[in-house]
Symmetry: C2
Subunit: 381 residues, 2 copies
């Protein structure tokens, strides 16, 4: 399945077959392209819909090398390719965007905290942890409770442990310790950067979390002062440049009483940018392709004043064949995106996007559609 017969455009290879690759392929179609996907399983979201699919593990150098042959550029829908494997690919002449040097700051959260501190960009107070006593020492300076975070691989609330007292043992994975930030809101900014240096930022969005999982994104962030919005955008653009990012980067921030603090970086399209598919002149998926191909970037202006994205998380009895028609009938103005996944409780199965002029009404439409897709009772969101 490697010969597409498509000689009309460059071949972008994407490592990872999840929903980000799926939606990137969807965007690629408009640009006259077809994304080549390296999926772990034939049933992965992108593997179900892309023409050009290879199966292989993201930590298997031989599989990646085979995959990269014939790709003009290789990019990623996750952070799971080990740095050593990335470096070997690059040594072999493969063009990876972002590069291993940039990607490490999205893969290794402690390296990210150190680099951002060097750059003078505000992050929560943090410290390395080798033994339980390091946690206690940190808390004696910054107060309890504290947060233990996995250095690598945490997402959606996984890899995060709150503790209000000296721990007897540490989690089984490498962790560091961080102060628990008294939150006002959580924010995110998406930026895109191409090798030539051109950059574009989308408006800052507010992300609404439930038990560590993003359930809703409101674009632009409705309760943010213009000054903080400008700060957030400036931080994201500066980081993209300093870290030599190529592609889309999402910067997640805490809006704390003392100002903004950077939480996470993702160097790929990100859940906080799904609103841009319908909601912005250029979506994060198309922009990521343009950026990694070093093509001119698109306009990031929102199409309407309010855009709300709500995630569809699996419920106890989610059955999309039953719930999809119900949701479509109830909310005919909402855009539905399903990822081709078998429902399981808590699993991200898709998202919906509502657009309008009023925050309250637009949020209500998005939340209702998501709740109906999940299979909750009416108004059960």
């Amino acid at each position: 399945m490697t010969d597409t017969g498509n000689d009309t455009g460059p071949v972008v290879g994407m490592v990872g077959g999840g929903q980000l690759a799926r939606m990137t392929h969807q965007a690629a179609i408009a640009l006259g392209l077809s994304v080549r996907v390296l999926a772990e399983r034939a049933g992965d979201g992108a593997a179900l819909v892309a023409h050009d699919v290879e199966l292989g593990s993201p930590d298997d150098l031989a599989a990646l090398t085979r995959f990269a042959k014939g790709c003009d550029v290789v990019t990623f829908d996750h952070e799971h390719v080990p740095t050593s494997v990335l470096q070997a690919l690059e040594g072999d002449g493969v063009v990876t965007r972002p590069s291993s040097r940039a990607l490490v700051f999205a893969q290794d959260k402690l390296a990210q905290r150190r680099r951002l501190s060097e750059l003078g960009i505000p992050v929560p107070a943090y410290a390395e942890v080798r033994e339980p006593a390091d946690v206690t020492a940190f808390a004696s300076e910054h107060g309890w409770p504290v947060v233990l975070k996995a250095v690598r691989g945490g997402y959606d609330g996984r890899g995060v442990w709150f503790t209000g007292a000296p721990p007897e043992t540490l989690p089984a994975v490498e962790v560091y310790v961080e102060q628990k930030v008294p939150l006002v809101h959580e924010l995110a900014v998406q930026v895109a950067r191409r090798p030539s240096g051109e950059m574009r930022a989308w408006p800052v969005v507010e992300t609404v979390q439930n038990q560590g999982i993003c359930v809703e994104v409101i674009a632009p962030a409705p309760r943010l002062s213009p000054g903080l919005a400008a700060d957030a955008e400036r931080i994201a653009l500066r980081l993209a440049e300093e870290l030599d990012v190529v592609g889309v980067m999402a910067v997640e921030l805490f809006e704390a009483p003392g100002g903004l603090l950077v939480n996470e970086l993702a160097m790929r399209p990100h859940n906080s940018g799904h609103w841009s598919i319908e909601g912005a002149r250029t979506s994060q998926f198309e922009q990521h392709l343009r950026a990694v191909l070093d093509w001119p970037l698109g306009d990031t202006t929102p199409v309407l004043p309010v855009v709300v994205m709500a995630n569809v998380l699996g419920g106890d009895a989610t059955d999309l064949s039953r719930t999809l028609p119900v949701a479509l009938a109830a909310e005919p103005t909402v855009s539905v995106h399903l990822y081709g996944k078998q429902p399981r409780p808590g699993r991200k199965l898709g998202h919906v996007t509502a657009m309008g002029t009023d925050v309250v009404a637009t949020r209500a439409r998005a939340r209702r559609a998501a709740a109906l897709l999940r299979g909750d009772e009416e108004d059960g969101s």
Copy 2:
């Protein structure tokens, strides 16, 4: 490549692998589906990007029968499946939407003229033609010049012959004769209808032709009276119901000095509806899928007051690898859609969509982007 492993949704089979199937697959991805494509060639636009592709001719009953196995519903990106083949498939239990009974009125233009006349829907004066004298007899009643039109298979200005004097011979294909309508504008209305009877219409659009080929679509039609717009919508909805259409239907109309006249019917997504991808709450491609699956239809309201689609036709030296970055840089707010085709003069290679609030400025952006993609000099449109 037939086993997608996708058991999350129904399988829609699409006969034909052109840009309409390509863009339908793109829309299907969002609905959690993957369109199964029957393409004539591996290099067809949809075959390049869909996962599930079979090769076969649309008039080969055996190929169609194989293809239809495992499809929940079969639909079409063109009108080239012979009626007898469609009837044989239907006799075999295949669910075709639209059905052969409806589709014949999009395939056979003389049958369409007869049926619409029976329904009292205004069409240009026309007559059957068996020999050259029939043309002369028609013209003696309606005046010269007259138009000879192919009964089947005409599109983009092909299958249309103007004549101002008695012809000595007829074209090699079956034709009928029609009065030459003194045009004000050309219009189109898209409607969708599902088996349960639910219908939705998009706003009436103006189509701008150049040498019989649509080059531009303006939504909503900017110079149309509210009364005629309502007439056009009423005609399209009535036709969808009377002809028992399932899926999207495009009705092309002439706005003539005496009122509206129906010109063509297409029972599938249509060039005149491409503006709806970004420009309407629900695109014609998603709506076609919803309709043929008997799912609730989506809202058809435009997102912004003016949406303009311009076709990208191949020029003498179109080279998209060179012209695409130029167009993207010059018009960053415009959405580009390329069909994966090798450029040839006059070939539809893609389209662009601009959205805004002002007809003149929005048209200018769309036309400029299309001209730059084609490779014309700046302002060469």
